[in-house]
């Protein structure tokens, strides 16, 4: 297979794809944080976004469509020393994997979840996605897409402890969000506005640029759930990017007694310890 100078696979995205900005932001964030590649596990789904981990230096578990979060959560549980980043698209995470999204947020696994939200299905060539704007015409919704879901509001309602929105057209800002998400202890969703140059001619780079504004440049306070929930409703003329909600909450792994002695992956297997259990059946 064709590879780059660094031995990574050649990138198979369309020229100009918003994914390039996301990849740059991921590389910048991991570089800035100084996490060695062998300590990073990226778990991805299926769709153009799912290819991202292959294009950077890290451990890769490229999953099925929609199933990133269960695998990413479990990998983090058994080896908390890993920095675990789940990556997928809007169809992958909010459609096929919607139930996992709600419950991973609820359990507050200590992982970062990057959703490349281009509001359209790219790899299957232009069908409506769960976040397609109302009225957006596609090959499977000729009268226009129906009501979009609100992943930011859903994440907050479900119990995620870090909820942010980034824009693939602003790499610096996105990188800072990814860094904050990785450093946050708990489930960190970063929904990323990602222009699809091939199939979404409504939500283009220019469309987003006209609308996005940075929350940190306002006096917005991200630690009030109700205020955040209200902010999550903002979409249309003005679209906020930045951290919309952040609160330190107990993580799923943090409450597991089994992890008190260190990562499960480092624990020895001792069959004879089970003798005590066998004796209870006598």
């Amino acid at each position: 297979m064709a590879t780059t100078a660094e031995g990574l696979p050649q990138i198979a995205w369309c020229p100009g794809c918003g994914n390039f900005g996301i990849l740059r932001a991921v590389n910048q964030a991991l570089g800035d944080l100084g996490i060695p590649p062998h300590r990073v596990l990226m778990v991805s789904g299926i769709g153009q976004a799912g290819k991202l981990p292959h294009y950077t230096k890290c451990n890769v578990l490229n999953m099925l469509h929609g199933r990133t979060l269960p695998a990413a959560s479990a990998a983090k549980i058994v080896n908390p020393e890993l920095t675990v980043i789940a990556v997928g698209g809007d169809g992958d995470g909010y459609g096929e994997g919607g139930n996992h999204f709600i419950h991973a947020a609820r359990r507050n696994h200590d992982i970062t979840y990057l959703v490349h939200d281009n509001q359209v299905y790219g790899l299957t060539k232009g069908q409506a996605s769960p976040t397609s704007d109302r009225g957006f015409p596609t090959k499977t919704s000729l009268e226009g897409a129906w009501s979009p879901m609100n992943p930011i509001a859903l994440a907050i309602a479900s119990g995620a402890s870090f909820v942010a929105r980034g824009f693939a057209g602003d790499v610096e800002h996105l990188a800072s969000l990814i860094k904050a998400g990785i450093q946050h202890k708990g489930f960190a969703l970063i929904d990323i506005l990602q222009p699809c140059v091939s199939f979404n001619h409504l939500n283009t780079y220019a469309w987003y640029r006209e609308r996005v504004y940075k929350l940190e440049e306002t006096d917005y306070d991200a630690d009030d759930k109700l205020v955040s929930f209200q902010k999550a409703q903002e979409w249309g003329e003005r679209i906020p990017i930045g951290i919309i909600y952040q609160k330190l909450l107990p993580t799923f792994g943090g409450q597991l007694p089994a992890l008190q002695k260190g990562p499960l992956v480092k624990q020895e297997i001792e069959p004879r310890r089970a003798q005590k259990l066998l004796d209870e059946f006598l």
Binding site: L41, V60, L64, A74, V265, L277
Partner: protein, 566 residues
């Protein structure tokens, strides 16, 4: 004179049927007897009709028997429903102050269960314990053993003492008012374990070093995760109850990829949801263990009953082609040892292993000699310890098995993909690499096949009639064969507890020596017969099938075999 007694406890859900049945089984276990106990319950928490059968012998017992010697009826309906199963000289223990029993037969033992519970233990809810005591009083059981069983079961304290009082009240009432029907003396030292298939699988998993189980509650295998959860703190296990079965199996893939032994457990319809994840484990070469507890399907079917209807499903679940192992424990001991084996096979061949049980094996209790943990071996397969060039998770090898490394390992990056991938684990559409990776994965079947044990052949090497079965039917089949042989029939038994890769050569050889062969299966179509034909080209002579949701009894198999001309 050999001792054999069959007890049945019947009542509504919520009356403590399971509790009395289990304690009865435990008491006889402690007294040195062999016990086999099964339970039949409805999919409800209160009401309805449930029963629990306990068969007690002074020699090995592995199946239920239909005639009942003692019926402990916690309500009137139990008498009506089960009277026909009672043998001559039957005994019914019931509450004569609550249930007016018109019969004048001497074997009706009315005990004021509720009143005694109230008077002696201060709680009429303990009337089931009074019934337990009364039953054991009728057979002259050693009281101190019963006391000890209750104290152990209720973890001492006030609850335990009140149960002891309730049991004694029943015991003394029976001794004072009725003539002992038997006098059961303790035999041996009682050093056997009493456990069911679920518990045995859970113990096997813990002994094998399983560190992570993700499962969605579903009859009949929920007790596996519950047992492991109860030991999670002491044995450093993580038990996760996720949102659905899809999440469960994908979590298991994530945990196993990251480096621990991991498993899931579900029933047939839960497995339907897991199928996509099974193939994921296949293509990413991730070792996972999945327990599939069969119950009658399709869809919800009979949620709390038994069937062996999923064999072909487990052999073929998922699109595409990849290696898997399918094991089907025949007994409670098998359930332990095959679980240990499942983890070793999964890691040795880096592929999914399925353990098939069913409601009957999962929930039936058997006495077994304690497992010898020094016999438990742990084989984590080929692990990467450095080497030439860059690490490649899916390196092409002769055996098909590539050295495994884990994320976090210094100097190594581990990559794998649900898409077809190259040796390094990166997505590829290269036709040549695709074919090579398919062949590599399928090559693992050769090694795997050598690790699969041939079926048990019992009776004699060559017999006129061969009975053939798999999984939980072993006990009933073994006893059927014994009965038929005692009657002078030339019968042997071929029984499978490891089904895939199928040991075709060994089976063909054995089959060719029998004049007649009958599969005995708890399903409607004879799925093992179909497997045998597909893999050996041999057709069995007939099928003895049962698919009403209930397990086989030896008597039923014997009767059917005779109808077939045996």
């Amino acid at each position: 004179m050999p001792i054999e007694m069959n007890f049945m406890v019947g009542g509504e859900a919520g009356q403590g049927v399971q509790s009395v049945g289990f304690l009865l089984a435990k008491a006889f276990t402690r007294a040195g007897y062999h016990v086999f106990a099964d339970q039949d319950y409805e999919s409800r928490i209160r009401g309805g009709h449930n029963f629990f059968r306990v068969r007690v012998k002074d020699s090995e017992v592995r199946a239920i028997a239909e005639p009942v010697d003692v019926l402990i009826a916690l309500n009137r309906e139990s008498i009506e429903l089960h009277r026909k199963e009672l043998v001559k000289g039957e005994v019914i223990v019931f509450d004569d102050e609550k249930t007016k029993e018109a019969s004048d037969r001497s074997s009706i033992f009315g005990v004021p269960l509720s009143r005694l519970a109230e008077e002696k233990a201060g709680n009429k809810l303990m009337s089931n314990t009074v019934a337990l005591g009364a039953t054991l009083g009728l057979v002259g059981f050693e009281l101190s053993t019963l006391d000890q069983v209750l104290r152990d079961h209720f973890h001492k304290g006030e609850l335990a003492e009140n149960n002891v009082k309730a049991a004694r009240a029943g015991y003394e009432y029976a001794q004072a008012n009725f003539k002992e029907m038997h006098h059961i003396k303790p035999i041996g030292d009682g050093q056997r374990m009493l456990l069911n298939g679920n518990e045995s699988i859970a113990l096997g998993a813990i002994a094998a070093g399983c560190k992570f189980i993700a499962a969605y509650p579903m009859t009949p295998v929920t007790p596996i995760m519950e047992y492991m959860a109860s030991k999670a703190r002491d044995f450093d296990l993580v038990v996760v109850q996720p949102e659905d079965e899809i999440a469960a199996i994908n979590m298991v893939v994530g945990a196993a990829f990251a480096g621990v032994r991991a498993m899931t457990a579900t029933s047939g319809s839960g497995f339907c949801l897991m199928v996509e994840g099974l193939g994921l484990a296949g293509i990413t070469e991730t070792p996972i263990v999945a327990v599939e507890g069969q119950r009658p399907g399709p869809a919800v079917g009979l949620p709390t009953r038994t069937e062996q209807g999923d064999l072909q499903f487990m052999l073929h679940a998922h699109h595409g082609e990849f290696p898997r192992a399918v094991l089907a424990p025949a007994t409670v001991e098998d359930a332990f040892w095959l679980t240990v084996k499942a983890f070793n096979l999964a890691e040795r061949y880096q592929t999914p292993v399925i353990i098939m049980t069913d409601h009957h094996l999962a929930s039936s209790y058997t006495t077994v000699n304690p497992f010898d943990l020094s016999e438990v071996t742990i084989d984590r397969g080929i692990l990467y310890s450095g080497g030439d060039g860059e690490y490649k998770r899916h390196r092409l090898t002769k055996s098909g098995v590539s050295p495994r490394a884990f994320p976090g390992q210094e100097g190594v990056l581990v990559a794998t993909d649900a898409d077809e991938h190259d040796e390094a684990g990166h997505l590829t559409e290269d036709a040549d690499m695709r074919a090579k990776q398919v062949q590599k994965r399928l090559r693992k079947l050769f090694g795997l096949k050598n690790d699969i044990s041939p079926p048990r052949l019992e009776g004699s090497r060559k017999a006129e009639t061969m009975l053939i079965g798999w999984g939980s039917t072993y006990g009933a089949l073994h006893e059927s064969m014994t009965i038929l042989r005692k009657e002078g029939k030339d019968v042997n038994l071929l029984h499978f507890s490891e089904l895939w890769p199928f040991p075709a050569e060994a089976v063909a050889d054995v089959l060719d020596r029998a004049c007649f062969s009958y599969v005995v299966e708890n399903n409607a179509t004879g799925q093992l017969a179909r497997l045998i034909r597909a893999e050996t080209g041999r057709e069995v002579s007939g099928r003895i099938l049962k698919f009403d949701g209930h397990p086989f009894t030896p008597a039923y198999i014997v009767e059917q075999a005779k109808k077939e001309g045996c």
